[in-house]
Symmetry: C2
Subunit: 352 residues, 2 copies
């Protein structure tokens, strides 16, 4: 069987990480890399800042260069967080009869907030005999999939608390800016009021995914965003918050079922949490039969975790039936240390 | 859609627990219950020691009474731990065009130790257009599936340690006898030498499942069984071990890949572990990129956990393509709190 063929659309932190990871894997080739502006025309290995003397170094190109019928088995889209931002790109890939994996948080369960576009993506995928998946570390794993997997061992579930307490310190300037690190509380609240603080994208998707899998009716879903104001000066490689300034964002969500808070999601993100005694980690706490009291410390790093999910789901989306899929439709995610071709049903490959 | 129809074959602790759980669920009926000896002819609710005034109380019957073509959507077999012990039963169900879920530990990955029988089950299932799954808490979830799900967020894996430290105290006389509680070390070793100590069944299945999913070649797999000799007197409701006697069984396994110990499984089971400061729990420790350091305390109770997995996988095995399936082929397990019919593709139902 020929190597599995992948095109990466978007070479920011996620797309570049996917490229670096695929270059370590067996039985899989990067046959296209798409970006805009000054990256176009440069060799891929230069853009991702690596050297691979024995591998083919394709040039970064435009959509027209690489999105052509049956050019690859999967196109991995890493451009933005939203279904609306992804839609035209996904449509173009599907019309060229290739599968899609997207890093967009909203694509993890697109019908949660974009049911019409989700239905249209499903229709286009089926029409072209290929499939589409949105995934990542969160949504896609820690705060939804892992919770559901734990409920698999439960005969009843009364309440679910899913917490992800992470450090923003490993992230760069863009994330510091995005999350408002170093702002005064007033400036944070102004930006929030103007709708310019995104915080974590994905609570709606995680909660709807869990509710649909469990078969419970969501009466209401509310999300909240509060600044984490530090009482001590904090400094990370790319961020700084003096006492009284914003050191992070505390995101939370509540999903109501039968008038009770059934889903509780807490996701505080901040620089240097250790400095104030906050232990980072992923927590799944379920009041059920039996109970679950699961902790993973420290948290699975978001960047690497998302890159891993995008790469590890490649065989699953190739093998899937045509249509829009989510993490609850496909077999479980797992690392792939062997040859990717061993995990792929050749009859399902769109690459010709 | 008519309610989903289930037959339970074997009304020991697991089968009775499945019956009790199904009676709490929506959109699903027990239409058959099979056992032997004095249970036959008794009403099911009497055998499981419950009262359900508004539900139909079928009599416990024989195989001939209930295994007939298309009588149910799924037959849940809870009789023994082995592929060989299950084979004739599974064959008979498949020939009657019904899906199978088995609690037999070896059925969780039957090709690990019984490749010919596994191939024959797969052939029979495909010939009859139905499917077969073995599952439970372990193998089936904690020491294999959960480990794999965590590797989904990893770009590389160097070593996996999976530990399940559990208490035998909640179990009854049969388990105390089976695990040698209260024996002298000499008596334990005699029984072990005679091949009469089963201990935990499932390490081969868990390790082969993980190796195949990850795509690594297993060079060797060794398992070990040692008595846990207590230094203090211990007493549980059904078991007793004086100082110097056997309080449990310490099971472990090593899976070698490329000459290194890649898989380390540890599963000590004992009465009253708290008395000697042993904290029970489920542990997944992965040396990878990134690392995983996951703990669930206390452990998911084995009995309830297995019952839950058997029940929660019902829609997945109905919807599956024909053939022998394992937990790595099917969508993720999760609890079902709503109507079972909402999760089933009617076109796939064998019940007529």
């Amino acid at each position: 069987m020929e190597n599995i063929k992948v095109i990466i659309w978007g070479l920011g932190a996620m797309g570049s990480g996917v490229a670096r990871t695929l270059l370590q894997k067996k039985g899989i080739d990067i046959v296209g890399a798409i970006d805009m502006g000054e990256k176009v025309g440069k060799p891929l290995f230069e853009v991702i800042n690596q050297s691979h003397p024995h591998k083919i170094n394709i040039p970064v190109g435009t959509t027209d260069d690489y999105i052509k019928a049956n050019q690859a088995d999967v196109v991995i889209i890493c451009t933005d967080s939203y279904v609306k931002g992804n839609f035209e790109k996904i449509k173009r890939v599907l019309e060229n009869k290739m599968n899609v994996i997207s890093s967009a948080e909203e694509m993890a369960y697109p019908k949660a907030q974009n049911p019409e576009l989700a239905a249209e993506i499903d229709r286009l995928a089926k029409e072209n005999g290929v499939s589409v998946l949105g995934t990542g570390i969160n949504p896609g794993h820690i705060m939804d999939l892992l919770v559901l997997v734990m409920t698999g061992a439960l005969v009843d579930v009364k309440q679910i608390t899913s917490k992800r307490i992470n450090s923003l310190s490993p992230f760069g300037k863009a994330v510091m800016e995005e999350q408002g690190i170093g702002l005064t509380p007033e400036a944070f609240n102004q930006r929030k009021a103007a709708g310019e603080m995104a915080g974590h994208v994905g609570f709606e998707e995680s909660v709807h995914m869990m509710a649909d899998a469990l078969g419970v009716q969501l009466d209401a879903l509310t999300t909240e965003m509060q600044p984490i104001i530090t009482e001590v000066d904090r400094k990370s490689p790319y961020g700084e918050a003096k006492a009284g300034q914003v050191a992070g964002v505390d995101m939370s969500a509540k999903g109501m079922v039968d008038g009770k808070e059934f889903f509780t999601l807490q996701h505080p993100q901040q620089i240097e949490p250790e400095q104030v005694g906050v232990e980072t980690g992923d927590y799944v706490i379920i009041d059920g039969s039996p109970n679950v009291n699961l902790v993973n410390t420290p948290e699975i790093e978001g960047g690497l975790g998302t890159i891993a999910m995008l790469v590890n789901m490649i065989p699953k989306i190739i093998n899937a039936e045509a249509g829009l899929k989510t993490m609850i439709d496909l077999p479980i995610p797992h690392a792939i240390l062997g040859d990717f071709r061993d995990q792929v049903n050749e009859a399902k490959r769109p690459f010709k």
